[in-house]
Symmetry: C2
Subunit: 287 residues, 2 copies
Amino acid sequence: MSTVLKLTPQKVGRPKGGKDVAAQTQDGTVGKALALLDEVAAYGRPVRFAELLSDSDLPKATLYRLLQTLVSQRMLSLDPDTGFYTMGSRLIRLAHAAWQTATLAPVARPHLDQLSSQLQQTVHLAQLDHGQVLYIDKRNAARPIAMFSDAGKIGPAYCTGVGKAILAFVPADVLDAALKQQSWFRHTEHTHTSAESLRADLKDIRATGISFDREEHEPQIICVAVPILDDLGRPLGAISVTSSTLRHSLDDLAGFAPALKETAEAIARDASAYTIPGASPSGITGA
Amino acid sequence: MSTVLKLTPQKVGRPKGGKDVAAQTQDGTVGKALALLDEVAAYGRPVRFAELLSDSDLPKATLYRLLQTLVSQRMLSLDPDTGFYTMGSRLIRLAHAAWQTATLAPVARPHLDQLSSQLQQTVHLAQLDHGQVLYIDKRNAARPIAMFSDAGKIGPAYCTGVGKAILAFVPADVLDAALKQQSWFRHTEHTHTSAESLRADLKDIRATGISFDREEHEPQIICVAVPILDDLGRPLGAISVTSSTLRHSLDDLAGFAPALKETAEAIARDASAYTIPGASPSGITGA
DNA sequence: AACTAAGTTTCAAATAGTGGAACCTGTGGG
DNA sequence: CCCACAGGTTCCACTATTTGAAACTTAGTT
């Protein structure tokens, strides 16, 4: 079973007797329901009512009713025999719509195919979402196709090629906000562990238009990435080629940069063509 | 732009002055919010407030507040410049969790890889969801044939190989319910257009364990499918090999059946191993 | 049978959602 | 230049919905 990432997905504020402190849970019932959905998602496995009850601070009856509602709406599903809750099918349908209409994926897809088979390398497409990298699509040269497996996955922005490629071109206010949201966890000895260190890197990236992951996230794993910039120079996302030190040097990867840039431009061009002029082409961006 | 499929995906019941007929919108605010989400998803493109207002029967202010909530929750995203709503990024993250924990995909993945490269054909994995086929994964061998399909996509159950493979092994009550939900639209001259006709076909499928799509959904497109059955004989999903009449005959496809069956059994075996004994392995099933 | 953990239902109190109407824009006429 | 108007946004009194302590069922123990 994959490492269960139980990291309190949304810090559901909780001053029990603490009066009305401020905007905590927010957004009424809908907000609570969605927070609960995140909660269930965070388990990464079927969950019992009691588990949710102890982790959440909702009173029993409230939690119960909320779960009922979510199940009835098929956002969750409840195994009647065992009482385990899992994520519901409606999410997958909705996500399909989201993926199709609010991401670069449909536009980028043919270009990624082309690039992947041209370079014979693994290619990623990612966008920035709340200071984190959201992987939208992936093309694996050898073993083709993957969907939500990799699409939908999130990763850190401060220590991935795509993350840095996007951050380098994001407006100052968005960058500031994003930097505050990074964990600065030292994944490897090459990881940037402070905003200053990263900013220096971003400056280079801005100059060259090329971002490298020098084993900053995982040992042995390296990557080149370039941003996808719209006609106003705003980053819509980024694409990357990932490899390992066993197969390529950073210089080798640098050799892929021209092809990446070309592809990124092609995607940007298509994206603007698909969009109502003036509208930002993607729903998913910074903030 | 890809064909906009505007087919009122959920028949949002609508008795305007009709008093309180019965369980319509249901589930309070959460239900309404989710219905709205579906509404937006159905457009398949960015939507304006006014469009939603005229299609929905919510009063202006209510709709407005709901949208605000959903945007604030990142289930929708609103382009501040243009006022267009699109699906939000949170859906993609949630769907990833759903896909990972509530579908057969993670378990089936290696087996599909294996099958796809062994047969050098396009392989699909699907599950039944509310009388419809929900495509969970797809593996496309070498050259992609001209066909659109992706994880998260939904399709009819009564005229697809995977749909019929599952229906053939579903308990009587689920089958009855599912049959009522079919549109019986005559996609091609081979499409089953009535429950009787389909039932006869299902009987054969039950006998042989093999389901064929004989150009029933799209002209030229044919497919063999087999169900994935758990140890109690309940269908967890189905896998299929799809091709076109230009490349294969139905007899050719029949030749793939043994490999398909073997793979389906392997998936079922793994699925039961991954699950708490007694729990149904997948959240997504009939009903 | 007595106890306990886990899940379900009740019900008065209170919060949160409703929606008609007024109020802001920015745009396009006249 | 001023008015009309469509597309959005905000108000606010009215109510339906949500809330959660507590009582109540089941299963599973000891």
